[in-house]
Amino acid sequence: MATETPTTEAADGVSTGSRGVWFAQARAFTDRSLREVRNSGLMLAWVIAFPAITYLLRVTQGTETSAAADASVAIGTGVLGAMFVSLFLFGSQLATDLEDRRYAAYRSMPISPSAELTGRMAAGLVLAAGSFAVTIVVAVATGAAFGLRGPASVPVVLLAGVATCLFWMVVAVPFVVVAGNKRVASMATTLVAVMAFVLTGLNGVVPAQSPIDGPALNYLPNTLATRLLVAHLVPAENWTELGVSPPQLPTEPAFLALLTGYTLIAVVAGSVLVTRTLYDRGWWT
């Protein structure tokens, strides 16, 4: 049977080449996700303020600590904020689409699942960066001291931040798919973020508070990234005095490679999950 190729009269400002379409679709999801948060003042305030408030509660109720120790705690709490955005916000937007049967509509459209995932993740990264930055600003304003170790710290810090967000956004996907319900998915993902934070000693910045063996804190996705950030953003020499060591901070290149591996695995797993479970297509598109 002959197949009609539809005539396309593209709307203004939207590219029609396959690469242009992919970018337009990714941008559609980024823009939509950011606007949804912006249009909901309460959600925006909660996402931005939650880690900063958590940090303030910690430093104002604890014993007197050094500026470097406060900076470490701020980084651990800022990473919690990034995890919260990645798990809760990313997950709840995904769950809303699932619950509202929007994927039935998406599946009938020529949407690239990878464009969707990229677009959603880009929005998550922007919001997570904002949440982390607000926590750091609040920490600086209340006396914490930060400082880059050197120019090489910039890519490490960026990698650690991006890796944290991508990993936890992918973790949100199976929770959303299994729950199939926005409320349950939101509760579950929030619980995961808080449990990971608490059980790993504020994401690995206070190992003494974690029931997990010290060396393991350099290998878990959340603690590895956080401890890399601490190593490159906190101007301290004696980590034991700060309570961050033992274990020794993961500054060797092998740890960077491990974090990069986590990120790649997360991206591949996320793409497969979205393509298979939400779009009901092959393993990869």
Binding site: T3, E4, A10, A28, R32, E36, R101, A104, P110
Partner: protein, 306 residues
């Protein structure tokens, strides 16, 4: 495209969710350039059948082809309006349009005309959360109709719309058809039969009748009408549940009285005697689309199944 070839076919399509069967061996052909209205009561599986045609759901059994390929194989030939599934309530109407404009490579600027004609152009900068159900429907219809594809699948496009808007929606459908597009419109509102080239009735998980509206209308037996107060008495003899029309209730003449249809006076007298309804309160009226809808979807056996 060869216009003699069907645009879409459902061949023995069954769909179940767990133990709940929704569709049972449905056969349906959609011809090129036609406006097919798929009618049936709420919950009968119209949306599921449209989802299978759109490629967004796989049937549990059977095959669905669109333009000669499995419906799930490509997604650039259909625009699927699924009830209350497109609009994002945290965005404004305009932000919704922009989202789908970027999302679908065949989205056109026709949305400007559609929102104006549907009367929501002035509401585009309001959050969709503040829209009424009818306004959401209009926005979703404007979005789905702005995608330039050869096959449109519209699920309950007139649900929640005020009566004054429905002619505008029908006009939009006719324009699409005049432009060579094919439309499948699922609806539980009999008034949408008026715009169809062909009707298909879905009941009990199967297509129970298909045909041109006038042909199917001619197949409906005479219709009895009486006051609403007599609904229970009428229900006692009717083959299916009576339906309300303009303050009265109606039901098709029971099959056991079919032979007496040529003699209306005797038929009415017999029915009055059996039901206890005053003869003066009983009359026979011409079948309408509402009667047609009820005849084929409300307990009447298959008479013209495809």
């Amino acid at each position: 495209m060869d216009v003699t070839e069907p645009v879409a076919t459902a061949d023995g399509v069954s769909k179940s969710f767990g133990d709940d069967g929704v569709l049972e061996a449905v056969d349906l052909t959609v011809e090129a350039g036609e406006l097919l209205v798929l009618m049936g009561p709420n919950g009968v599986g119209k949306s599921v059948l449209l989802s299978c045609l759109a490629g967004s759901q796989r049937p549990s059994a059977g095959d669905v082809e669109v333009f000669g390929e499995p419906a799930t194989a490509r997604a650039d030939t259909t625009s699927f309006l699924l009830q209350d599934a497109l609009a994002l309530e945290k965005l404004t109407g305009r932000e919704n349009v922009n989202f789908y404009r970027r999302l679908h490579p065949q989205f056109t600027d026709a949305w400007r005309d559609h929102v104006a004609r549907l009367g929501i152009a002035d509401d585009l900068d309001r959050p969709v959360a503040d829209y009424s159900g009818g306004m959401v429907r209009k926005l979703e219809l404007a979005i789905a109709a702005s995608i330039d594809v050869p096959l449109y699948l519209f699920d309950e496009p007139t649900a929640a719309l005020d009566l004054a808007t429905i002619p505008t929606v029908h006009e939009l459908f006719r324009e699409k058809r005049a432009a060579g597009k094919t439309l499948v419109v699922a609806s539980h509102r009999p008034m949408n039969a008026d715009v169809a080239d062909r009707l298909a009735f879905l009941a009990g998980g199967r297509i129970v009748a298909t045909g041109a509206p006038e042909e199917l209308l001619a197949s409906v037996p005479p219709v009895l009408e009486t006051r609403a107060a007599n609904a229970s008495a009428l229900a006692a003899v009717a083959d299916s549940e009576p339906f309300a029309v303009a303050g009265n209730v109606r039901a098709v003449v029971p099959r056991e009285y079919g032979g007496a249809a040529d003699d209306p006076e005797r038929l009415l007298a017999n029915l009055a005697a059996e039901t206890g309804i005053d003869r003066a309160d009983l009359s026979i009226v011409e079948p309408t689309y509402t009667a047609l809808f009820n005849y084929y979807t409300n307990g009447v056996p298959t008479t013209n199944g495809q």
